[in-house]
Subunit: 200 residues, 2 copies
DNA sequence: GTCTATATCTGGATAGAC
DNA sequence: GTCTATCCAGATATAGAC
């Protein structure tokens, strides 16, 4: 009995988060309303506030998972693997995440564009730390002559920029190329580009 | 006398647009308020609505110039120039615009991420047209053996993605690299990347 | 042309019945 | 746990004095 209630709670909890993700990722925090989330989730507005204390609480719940989610692929990089293949694997992994989780990408983009008021600490903390480690690894590889010498920071930015572009600017991509799945071509171009950049 | 009034009008008109650009580019259309624009511009709220009929009118006035503004550098490309230098010149031009006009870039990003409700027609119309022309030119160049054969559409997307990244995700770039002007390094990296991609 | 005051509406959140 | 009704703050826009 207890268990059944908990199951419903978990269900509604995740239904609300899913609806919130859809709305917040499109309109940003201030541009989104509880009414929209209510309609999207099929629950009533007061019912939503039974599960979450406030609109802000829903948004923060979504944000809190986000950075870890985006950074996970970095940790799959094997410092002892083949450098070029490791970097390519990371880039492909990110590209696939943009295809699978475009709403998460847009939620993140919205937050950053608006000045990252709620995750600035995570950016100067965890993110900076992770990037720093990755840059050191790349520099080690290029010192060892395993990859070409490049500005590692901007290489990383270029990977982020290009992969996220296909999620965040999807409307524009579709407008230019027509409806359809353009990720395969994008991935091919991207892989070609990175190989050219990194091959000694 | 008439002229003087007109001068004040023009002044206030542009003051409002400038304030609107600052606010809208940060919070998006729905997330921005007339109060913010009033405070930013130093005018009162009713006074703003004396110059523009509505909040929406301010936003649309800003949007209407935007696409043309972003596409202008394309038209500086000389089909008879040196292909690699022309493409590099375009990329550098775009990078410089991201540095000079980060608010315009963010306004555009906000609009696109939110599904481009107000400029979708311009995307499938003018933008698509311009890209199509540029793609044909690049393909002609590669057929002639003047640049390497690449997917021209995705090359263009990569130029947009990378240049706009430094404007739209400025907060993140600053968090990772520290405060300062990172455009010179970004431009160097970018130029190196494009030369590698395009050199036969 | 610019202001104060205000009408009107929307949105977040709560009260209280069921 | 979920609903209807409602409170209250904030936001767009207008009225009307100066």
């Amino acid at each position: 009995m207890r268990k059944y209630e908990t199951r419903i709670q978990k269900k509604n909890h995740s239904v609300i988060l899913d609806a919130g993700l859809k709305i917040f990722s499109q309109f940003g925090f201030r541009g989104s309303t509880l009414d929209q989330i209510a309609t999207e989730s099929g629950l009533s507005k007061p019912n939503i506030l039974y599960y979450f204390t406030s609109k802000e609480a829903i948004y923060e719940a979504l944000l809190s998972q986000l950075l870890a989610h985006w950074l996970k692929p970095v940790h799959d990089i094997n410092p002892n693997g083949d450098p070029i293949e490791e970097i390519l694997g990371y880039a492909k992994h990110k590209m696939r995440m943009s295809r699978l989780y475009p709403r998460e990408s847009r939620l993140y983009a919205n937050e950053i564009i608006q000045g990252a008021p709620r995750i600035k600490n995570a950016l100067t903390g965890e993110l900076r730390e992770v990037v720093s480690t990755l840059v050191k690894l790349m520099n080690k590889w290029s010192s060892a002559g395993l990859i070409r010498s490049v500005d590692a920071h901007h290489l990383i930015f270029s990977i982020w920029a290009m992969t996220q572009h296909y999620a965040d600017f999807d409307v524009q991509v579709q407008a230019v190329l027509g409806e359809g799945d353009h990720f395969p071509d994008a991935e091919r171009y991207f892989e070609d580009m990175l190989r050219r950049m990194l091959t000694v």
